[in-house]
Symmetry: C2
Subunit: 217 residues, 2 copies
DNA sequence: ATATAAATTTAGATTTGTCTAAAATTAATA
DNA sequence: TATTAATTTTAGACAAATCTAAATTTATAT
């Protein structure tokens, strides 16, 4: 139905939309897609012709309902594939994104629904991001970032805000993985760094910078 | 590394090669790929420049070792994905090919090897075709077509020669599925049609045309 | 051996997606 | 407000893959 490139543009524009009604700028899309502004202008003209977004010269773009639908379905496919790669094929959570970038463009609704069933209808991907349903509905995840959690409360590591490979590798290195049970046992007032208890056993220290980027429930 | 189109051309040429040293003709490639001869000429020039095949004007093409390697790895990916779709996602054997045509182009050696491991290193795809190993080695399957099997010998349905969707749907309709235990209990001399016993229970009749296209072991 | 037919290649165009450099518009600043 | 700066769009080109129509080469038939 839609090309790889079209799906990637729609996904990028969707992620850059703040729902403030303000159009997404050409430059921000170009930066996000690692391409040039001129290429973006060319492409948004095509997407506009196909009624996937509304485009006003020099004013940026806004996705139409149709455009949002395609973007959300692409995100759904991406995140379901990430779950498969992590849960079934045992890829690290820092490895799944790149491969899912390819798999998200496979065209078969039946495939993604059967895969969803095979995985037991997961609600979140390995980074803690919610997986939209078949009809595009998002259920809000009530995750909070670890730096806001009070001391001596048991929580479960459920996601990350920073998705970068270096950050994910760092978490892996200090044994902070998805599903990990943990408790804040000390909060240093000075720099808001934390002492954590993992699985009721090991104690580790993390900086506030790291804590801000960890989601727990 | 190589584009979808390049992989598809190499796969088609590989399948059309008879190993007689005789070049694969432009027209046969065009027919196989559902494209025009002129497009084939354009593409084989590019593949020749990349040393993936040897091309002599008006004389057809022969894959180089490099070209064969790419073709075989693409076939490997295709067949492993078919096993996944059939075994894990419960797609019918008439449905897997089309989706595998897309999945075979996903680029990640690690992915296909982890998938291979996840599936328990399958040796054959859902149509009974052998899956080449990581280094391209084919192990010969010793399957025989059902019309050559003598009466009262127990065999297992292990593959098909005709891969067409209508043929596979017909087999499904008459309960002939992969792994089915069966025995020839009567061979009609007149038209070489067969009476079969399925799972030691049900008796069915099949024509010689059907029997010729079924592989058993 | 010539003529006709079939297969193959070339010439020239098209579509998709990209780019650089230049022009036009909008935003920022003095 | 006038000038400069930043953003965005256009113009023109390019690579990949495809096509149609015409030219060329090879095969077949008289
Ligand atoms: Mn991702
Ligand atoms: Mn993710
Ligand atoms: Mn197949
Ligand atoms: Mn197959």
């Amino acid at each position: 139905m839609y090309s790889f490139t079209e799906e990637n543009y729609l996904k990028a524009i969707y992620k850059l939309s703040d729902n403030n009604g303000s159009g997404v700028s050409t430059n921000s899309i170009a930066e996000n897609m690692q391409t040039k502004a001129a290429s973006v202008t060319d492409m948004i003209k095509k997407l506009s012709d196909k009624k996937l977004l509304k485009y006003e010269k020099y004013k940026g773009v806004n996705l139409s309902q149709k455009g949002k639908d395609v973007a959300i379905q692409t995100i759904r496919k991406h995140r379901i594939w990430e779950v498969f790669l992590h849960e079934k094929l045992k890829f690290g959570w820092e490895e799944v994104h790149e491969i899912a970038e390819q798999l998200e463009h496979i065209q078969s609704e039946l495939l993604i629904n059967k895969l969803d069933e095979f995985l037991g209808y997961p609600t979140h991907d390995p980074h803690g991001d919610p997986i939209p349903g078949e009809n595009g509905e998002f259920h809000n995840n009530a995750f909070v970032s670890l730096d806001t959690v009070e001391a001596n409360k048991k929580v479960i590591l459920s996601g990350v805000i920073n998705h970068s490979v270096p950050f994910l590798q760092h978490l892996k290195k200090i044994d902070l993985t998805l599903g990990q049970k943990l408790m804040v046992i000390e909060i240093n007032e000075y720099d808001r760094s934390l002492k954590l208890l993992l699985n009721g056993k090991i104690e580790i220290f993390i900086s506030n910078e790291v804590a801000k980027n960890i989601l727990v429930k």
